[in-house]
Structures are given as C-alpha cells and as structure tokens.
C-alpha cells in the first residue's frame, strides 16, 4: 500500500466571488477542519490489464468497487483490496452489453449503468448479473441512485437540460426538479448532482460557474460562484453553440456534510482542484490532486476515489480531518 499525502492549498482564493443569489461573500475566514488525503489503494497500472479508461464508479457498503471501462466495454468489480472480483458486459447492443459505457451508481441491491447510446438505465445486481433496462425519456446525462426504487436523472436535450427527474424502478417519473428556467441551449445547463443527505440535491454546473443547493423541487437554498462568475464562451460547431471550457466536473458529499466540487478548466489546477465547501457553500479549503480526474466519488466511509494515469488507474484516498 502506498501512502502518499497530498499537498493542498488551504489559502482562501481571492479570485472567487459570490454568485447570483448569494447574500454575502462566498468565502469567510472561519475555524474549520483542515483536511488532507492519504492514499490507501491504487487499482490498475501501466503494465496490467485491469483498467484501460474507466468512466463511472461506485462503491458498495462492503467496500467493493464497481467501475465501467469504455475501452473494453466492461463492467468490472474489485474487492476492497483492489483485487479483481468479476466482470461483465462487452461490446454490443444486447442485454447488459455496452457500446459506450458512461455513468454508474448503486444501492444496496442494484447497480445502475448507462450507455451513451442507450435511452435507459441498465440494472445489474452486485454479482454483476444483468436484471433489466429502465427506459428513460431521453439519453441520460447524469444519474444518482437514491434507493432501490428511486433514481434521479438528468436527460440530454437539444434545447438544453433543465430538470432532475426522480423516477421509480419502472421508469415512471415521480417528481421533477426544475433547476433552471433559462434553457441556455444544448449542453450549457448540464450539471453534475448529488443527493445532499437531507432530501435535496447539490448541483454543480459543468459549463457555468455555479454551484447550488436545492432543498425541494422549487426551493433553491443557495447558489454561488467560485471562479469570478464570468460566462463560459461558446463555439459554433455543427450548428450548435457549444461551451469551450468546463467550470466544474463533479460534486460529492462526505458523512460530515462537507461538499466536494471538482473544478474544471476554470480552476487553478484543472481537474485537480477539489473545492471543499461547508453546508452553506462557503469554501473551507482546496485540495489539489496530483493528477487530473473527471470525477470525485466519496464512499460511505469517507474515502475519495479519483482517476490517475489518464484513466488506467483508480486512486482511493482516506479523507483525514485534522
């Protein structure tokens, strides 16, 4: 086991400013815990065949790690020590097969996986046995499993995403959380989101400098910007005005209620800076990962999972509160 304590930047970021709807400054000097990360596991290296380019990841209560690999189209399982414990899937359009595996989440019973080309969510059990497909109204752009019978999704829309849909296990929409009324256009309102542990959601916009907390379908608790709030420029490609940079990549929550937002191109260290926020959205500190990641996943034991080696490695870190 490699022990590697990461560097982190604890200084407040002068460039960060309060965003729309923010009553006060985004950052204030407060007595807060100082966080550090200690590497406790690494899966996949440069010379093995474990991972080629992983995308989605989830971890069960026992610490088993499930991951989708878009190079060989497999769903892979590793035990808590990182040893291979199974794989399934493969290239194809059949049940449980993938053409472009993307998102993954789980509950105590099921794993929920998406394919970029499939309008639905594939359900597997923890033994990697394919169960069924939950059909969705559109291609899924983001996913969070809330319980064995509740899934939250956002869908891809040519006119712009605007809502988180709460669906049951049959794909029936139970409720709809409209997080924006603007509909800025294709991709521009895309978000990463995570359940906030209080029945609400944390939302990080991928292409806007904006992080929000929602306590109900029409109840935004706060909204803040962290990189100056300037809009992301767009470029016309194929008839679409597409954003040219990312603001945030992912959002996660630990057991203490701290919020971890992975910064995109706007961050000082793109894909490496993890903004740690308190429950009100104020910055606690910035953790800087050694390598860029596309996601930041935190399991039930406050262990952070990120990408390394351009996607051929999973690194797991214990979050230490000092």
């Amino acid at each position: 086991m490699i022990l590697h304590k990461l560097t982190f930047a604890a200084a407040a970021l002068a460039l960060l400013a309060a965003g729309p709807g923010t009553p006060g400054p985004a950052f204030q000097a407060q007595a807060r815990p100082v966080l550090s990360l200690r590497e406790t596991l690494s899966i996949g290296g440069l010379d093995d065949d474990l991972l080629f380019q992983w995308t989605g990841l989830t971890v069960d209560r026992a610490g088993n790690i499930y991951v989708l690999d878009m190079m060989d189209d497999l769903l892979k399982k590793f035990d808590p020590n990182g040893k291979p414990a199974g794989r399934t899937g493969g290239k194809g359009l059949g049940p449980g097969e993938f053409l472009a595996p993307r998102l993954l989440d789980g509950t105590d019973r099921f794993l929920y996986a998406t394919d970029q080309n499939v309008m639905g969510i594939m359900v597997f059990d923890h033994e990697l046995k394919y169960r069924r497909l939950i059909r969705t109204p559109s291609l899924v752009s983001h996913l969070a499993a809330l319980s064995d019978d509740r899934i939250a999704v956002t869908g891809l829309s040519m006119t712009g995403e605007s809502a988180i849909l709460i669906m049951d296990g049959e794909g029936k929409v139970i409720s709809r959380w409209e997080y924006t009324e603007r509909k800025s256009g294709f991709l521009q309102d895309s978000v990463s989101f995570a359940p906030d542990g209080r029945g609400g959601f944390l939302i990080a916009y991928l292409f806007q400098d904006r992080v929000e907390r929602w306590s109900g379908p029409s109840a935004r608790t706060w909204a803040k910007s962290y990189f100056g709030g300037e809009p992301v420029s767009t470029e016309k490609i194929g008839g679409f005005a597409l954003p040219t940079e990312t603001c945030f990549k992912d959002v996660a929550l630990d057991s203490r209620g701290l919020i971890y937002v992975l910064g995109g191109n706007r961050a000082k260290h793109p894909g490496r800076d993890v903004l740690v926020l308190d429950s009100g959205g104020s910055l606690v500190q910035v953790l800087t990962l050694p390598e860029p990641s596309h996601c930041a996943y935190i399991d039930g034991k406050d262990r952070l999972y990120v990408r390394a080696n351009d996607g051929v490695t999973i690194r797991r870190y214990e979050i230490r509160y000092e």
């Binding site: 440069l46 010379d47 080629f52 380019q53 995308t55 989605g56 990841l57 989830t58 209560r61 989708l68 690999d69 190079m71 060989d72 189209d73 290239k91 472009a100 993307r102 998102l103 989440d105 789980g106 509950t107 105590d108 998406t114 970029q116 080309n117 752009s141 983001h142 996913l143 969070a144 499993a145 809330l146 991709l187 990463s192 995570a194 359940p195 542990g197 991928l206 490609i237 194929g238 008839g239 679409f240 996660a252 929550l253 057991s255 203490r256 209620g257 490496r272 050694p290 390598e291 860029p292 596309h294 996601c295 996943y297 399991d299 039930g300 999972y305 080696n309 351009d310 996607g311 051929v312």
Partner: protein, 164 residues
C-alpha cells in the same frame, strides 16, 4: 455526523455529448482481398485523449468496421498521438498509457491495423476530431486528410484508394 443517502453513488462526465453533431454511421464494407502488389496506404492519426468523448471513439470504431481486416493489416497504419508531459506524468509514462489503452481497445474491438507511438510528437492532433485518416496518395502526389467520422462517400473513397 449527519446521515447521508445514498451511501454510494455514481460518477462520470457528460463531455462526450459534445461531438453528437458529428456522428454518422459508416457503411459496412466488403470486397475482394487486397492485391499485395497494389493499393494505396493510409495513416490513422489517433488522439486517445479525445476518446473520453464516446462519440469520437465510436467514429474511429465505425471506420475500423468499414475497412476489411485484410486491408487494415496491409494498407493501414495507426499513429498514436499523445500530449506533452503534465502534472504527475512523464512523457514516457504518457506513452506507456497510450499504448496500454490502445491495446485494450484493439483487443476488445478486433482492430487489425498496427499502430506506432509518436515518441517525438511530430504529428499534430486532429483538430476538432479524435482521429483522422491520412491517405498517402503517392501517384497523385498528395497527402489527403479526412476527419472522422467519415461520411459514407468518404468511406467509399478511402476503400477505393486502398484497393486501387
């Protein structure tokens, strides 16, 4: 300590949708085996970093499906383009990662053409595409480039060129 649900959840990215406007299916191809004494040759410039976009990856796979295995083996060479050293990764490590990823992709999808790693980083990454096809048109005295995904007419042209 606050209660938190769910205990575990997903991760991933949506950036792959960006190339949606470019996706087009390449037709399956068949035909006589290549004459080893004849035919054009082509390079496929491959930027593996771009394949976080699944549709960019699919464009390359569609090209591979369109080119018969015998033609891939005899007429096509891939060039792995990789980025310069960056945080935490040396140039040598990035090169090894690129080779590993390609090996995984090749085995999973039955890609037959051999690839070379551009150690000196001479080749440029294809602009606005994950890969491009470069026809070495010696008789025509030209190097012709197609960005993936190829349109059906472009696939047909590449096939004609490889079989000429």
């Amino acid at each position: 300590m606050s209660e938190r649900r769910p205990r575990f959840r997903r991760s991933g990215t949506v950036l792959g949708w960006i190339a949606a406007a470019f996706l087009s299916a390449a037709p399956a191809a068949a035909g006589p085996p290549p004459d080893p004494e004849r035919g054009g040759e082509c390079l496929v410039l491959i930027d593996l970093d771009a394949f976080y976009c699944g549709l960019c990856l699919e464009a390359l796979l569609a090209f591979c499906r369109a080119i018969p295995a015998a033609l891939q083996e005899s007429r096509v060479r891939g060039i792995l383009i990789h980025r310069p050293p960056s945080a935490g990764l040396s140039g040598a490590e990035i090169l090894r990662i690129a080779r590993k990823k390609w090996d995984g992709l090749r085995r999973a999808h039955g890609i037959r053409f051999p690839v070379l790693a551009d150690e000196a980083r001479i080749f440029q990454r294809p602009e606005k595409a994950g890969a491009s096809v470069v026809l070495l048109d010696v008789p025509g005295g030209a190097v012709r480039t197609f960005l993936l995904p190829l349109k059906p007419a472009e696939v047909a042209e590449v096939l004609r060129f490889l079989r000429q």
